[in-house]
Symmetry: C2
Subunit: 334 residues, 2 copies
């Protein structure tokens, strides 16, 4: 027993000598690795993928889910606020669809409890896809390829919005990004992140960022006030969670965004006001934590944040089943 303990101590000491700059997490960490997606119903996912990419779910025939949650661009549109039907300016920054299955709820104010509930929103929102559920469903019913596919998946030829959103949500659940360098480090690969990145993570933890940005998604799990120590100044009129609960205490509470793939999902905040990660870290430190990071500290936290970029979903572009002679043609300019 004694010799065993002694041997372990020596081993630890040796390890410290061999790798003085790399260190390993010592215990439970506030951010945990993202598990790979498990696909239980591939046909449902495939149907959902088609619908996700299908602009015929919009009035114009031009806007699909992928327009604002672009899977070539971190599942976002990289715009301050999105472009909707007739080039309308969206009210808020489009959050990434990546890892969104881990969110406590969907939308910045959490007004949709599930991905499925979310998926129906933009289709019928006059400022986004500007269609209706009824028109979308009846349109799909005129496309033989879809009718066959819904039948194969749901064992009925009757398409409804519930099945449409079920399929889209099933596809979105597969959009996770495992194996980020940070996860590899968490899982024992000491060299997966650099010393600067480790120091950035240590500072991220010690200054309190992980109070909100924790769990596998490094966020997404709670609603928090934007502007705890200092008020956040913005000309964006969104008031966050209060729109859902009606409670004054929820005014300016927003869903904490995930920091996974944050390198890809610029610009930042619900109003998209921060163009860069450095700016975001500076603002968050100041208004949430009352902390003014030095340029060097900010750079290290930014370096850490970039280790959260995971493997992006490898997707084959879907081939959408063609419209039939009966399919109503989109009306982008009416």
């Amino acid at each position: 027993m004694y010799s065993k303990l002694f041997a372990s101590s020596v081993a630890l000491f040796m390890a410290a000598l061999v790798a003085p700059i790399a260190s390993q997490p010592r215990g439970p960490e506030p951010i945990t690795p993202i598990p790979a997606a498990t696909v239980s119903n591939p046909m449902l996912v495939e149907l959902g993928k088609k619908l996700y990419f299908d602009p015929r779910l919009s009035k114009s025939g031009f806007i699909s889910c992928n327009s604002c949650h672009n899977l070539s661009m971190g599942g976002s549109d990289n715009l301050k606020s999105s472009i909707g039907h007739n080039w309308q300016k969206g009210p808020i920054n489009s959050p990434t669809v990546l890892n969104s299955s881990m969110n406590v709820a969907q939308f910045w104010d959490g007004r949709a409890a599930t991905l499925k509930a979310q998926a129906g929103g933009p289709i019928a929102n006059p400022g986004e896809m500007a269609f209706t559920h009824e028109l979308a469903v009846s349109m799909l019913g005129t496309i033989p390829g879809y009718v066959l596919e819904f039948d194969r998946v749901f064992k009925t030829r009757s398409i409804d919005i519930d099945k449409v959103t079920t399929a889209i949500a099933a596809f979105e659940e597969t959009l996770v990004t495992p194996n980020a360098r940070f996860d590899k480090w968490l899982q024992g690969n000491w060299k997966a992140i650099s010393l600067d990145e480790q120091e950035g993570y240590a500072l991220f933890k010690s200054s309190g960022c992980t109070a909100c940005h924790n769990g596998p998604a490094a966020g997404g799990a709670s609603f928090r006030k934007m502007g705890v120590v200092e008020p956040y100044k913005t000309d964006n009129p969104a008031e966050g969670r209060v729109a859902v609960t009606g409670k004054d205490a929820d005014r300016f509470n927003f869903k904490v965004p995930t920091l996974r793939n944050v390198e890809l999902t610029y610009p930042y905040f619900h109003d998209g006001a921060a163009d860069t990660l450095a700016e975001s870290v500076e603002v968050m430190g100041r208004i949430q934590l009352g902390r003014r990071y030095t340029a060097g500290e900010t750079a290290k936290i930014v370096a850490f944040l970039k280790t959260l970029t995971g493997e992006q979903p490898m997707l084959t572009m879907p081939q959408l089943p063609p419209s039939s002679d009966l399919t109503p043609r989109p009306e982008p300019f009416k």
Copy 2:
């Protein structure tokens, strides 16, 4: 010698007995099979694919080549006319990018001699992507992932519009659709197309459609007058080839569109006025050939046209390199 000839004759006779309804092309056909793409420089093609999908080549950050030449939708947008920057209505129907390398020239009026010359057009067109070549190139130069990739492909870090369009064109050259059922039939598979489809093809040939719709792309090889026998009535002001040549004889001459994948590339004609294949066949027969097809004839020609749908390119969605802090942010609403 005699016995060999005799044996061949017997074999032919037997074959005719075995397959009395299916027939094989007897000699050279006006439409020929599409060869598969050969990729000589995969890194160049991969770079071109990224650029093709990158909305940062537009002023808004919202419109990419794929917006109007959507590779999930037969390489077109399935709209009468496209939607450009600030929701501007395009002047003409967006032609498919599929098999466009076989076109005699690009655009309906052939104003670009090559795919490369075409690729620069929409980027700088104020009604389409509304950017400038200068801004596009300087934007790309701020994205480290692109700088590395251009360097790897072109052996220089200086990006210019010539390299950008070279890469996009190289990608587009791979977008061919071989192995349509019709091609399989041409290549000896008697059963690849049905009797109705064969009769549709026979009628397509005998009534003169192949005068314009010939070659591997079943079109794309010449400019022809829209409205030979009867004038074509449209409120679309485009006048076709005359805009390029200035010759009065070219007024209302348009590039003959490819019929490959025509099932997917609705609506039809330069003004997108025909919603269905049946309508297109009826109009073409009447105004180009002075022929009024019966409903049954039209149905057979439509059935034949649908045999021209080939294998769509299998594409993995590209992952676009993220912008850096120096990359100018798009301005969709300015």
